[in-house]
């Protein structure tokens, strides 16, 4: 199949310059629970970001196709024109804003400092100074920890970070509150606690710089979905709360 944008006249959405006419091609990791992951392990691709993207595509009258790959390759795919949009809890920061376009945010949630239960030596971001945290490199939590003066060990993802924390090899990990909540929901025995949280961070869909028309349409779609309660509904499903504002 050729990915050159050779939209036919009657295909909808050809004004967006889509990778594949009539289809929104969405890049996502597929291994980042609860935002993008496989149900029952290797079942259907599900998750908060996945359903948001599906709702947006539906609203735009487009088919949807997911491309699953590692974080390393997600932005390379966007830039090389292999995908139209990234739906993977990409948080908005100045470096990224310089290179990509963002939709309006669909997740607003604080970052939290997670420690082992009973560890009283850390009770704020400032306390991370001189402590060791485990972060996945590609998240903005990495930056938060570094800024707080922590000694950061880079890991693959949440699971490894928690493993290190529980094995006592790091003092804390910084992550999205939603990730933490999902984890303790699945692992009620986990002896972890949140000791601090930031102001909320915003995550949004990311696009290549030349996709202004698409971004505009997506923003409108998000607005509609917000208005008709779909975003809140998806939030309820995964977190028991609306996290889109």
């Amino acid at each position: 199949s050729s990915s050159t944008p050779a939209a036919t006249d009657d295909a909808s959405g050809d004004e967006y310059g889509l990778v594949k006419a009539g289809t929104l091609t969405v890049a996502t990791e597929g291994t980042y629970r609860p935002f993008t992951y496989h149900d029952e392990g290797s079942g259907d691709l599900v998750g908060y970001d996945v359903e948001i993207a599906e709702a947006v595509a539906d609203e735009l009258g487009l088919e949807i196709e997911f491309q699953e790959t590692q974080w390393d390759a997600i932005f390379a795919g966007l830039e090389s024109g292999r995908s139209d949009v990234i739906a993977n809890q990409v948080s908005i920061n100045p470096e990224r804003e310089e290179k990509y376009l963002f939709s309006s945010p669909y997740t607003v949630s604080p970052s939290v400092v997670v420690v082992n239960e009973g560890d009283t030596s850390i009770s704020s971001f400032e306390d991370l100074a001189g402590k060791t945290t485990a972060q996945s490199l590609t998240s903005n939590f990495y930056q938060l920890a570094v800024d707080a003066g922590a000694n950061v060990e880079a890991v693959e993802g949440w699971a490894q970070a928690v493993a290190l924390l529980e094995q006592g090899r790091v003092d804390a990990t910084v992550n999205d509150e939603l990730t933490y909540l999902d984890y303790v929901k699945e692992n009620p025995d986990a002896k972890l606690e949140v000791v601090a949280e930031t102001d909320p961070t915003q995550s949004a869909l990311a696009f290549a710089k030349d996709k202004t028309a698409l971004v505009k349409a997506v923003d409108e779609a998000l607005e509609t979905l917000r208005a008709d309660g779909t975003l809140a509904e998806i939030g309820e499903k995964y977190f028991g709360a609306d996290v889109s504002e």
Binding site: G41, A76, S80
Partner: protein, 222 residues
Amino acid sequence: MDSSGWQLFLDSFWPIVWGGLGGTIPLALASFAIGIVLALVVALMRISKNRVLSGVARFYVSVIRGTPLLVQLFVIFYGMPAVGIVLDPWPSAIIAFSLNVGGYAAEIIRAAILSVPKGQWEAGYTIGMSSGTTLRRIILPQAARVSVPPLSNTFISLVKDTSLASLILVTELFRVSEEIAAFSQEFMLIYLEAALIYWLFCLVLSSGQSALERRLDRYVAV
């Protein structure tokens, strides 16, 4: 392993195996087959007296072996579109892995060809054969025998290296394990299971190697 762990292990087994049968194995087989042909060409180029040919071959081998496979994949899948070449995941993966095998196997094949005694070339010439015919009829069948063990090493490495293909959207054994690990957060258990399944595949493939060696050894005293 507690009973829920055991259950997860069992539930994951077939999905991971299918990831192997549907991704890892066909990808490895196709890339290996193409890579070997490429390697043969490169090996002959390196042996050739033509300075340009052997220089090109030497450079190719050096770059392939000197740079990470991950970057090679990246360049072919995410870099080539910049020059207007857009390939689908599977063709990209097969091209990248074939080029990689080509670089490693070329040196093995070159050594195997050189290990056939010079007298065999001369015996071919003296019965009137051209270099090409001698190569094909006399030298390569003998070189095959010597090169099976190292090539099977290359193949077994390839089987595991194909896990990088998930980077360019190909679903294979390890990708399936990562999905399960991400869902269940039981990465240690699942990765061990993946390792076990890789190992089983490799055992099967190694027994293929032994069979091939026996076949090629039929003309050698035991």
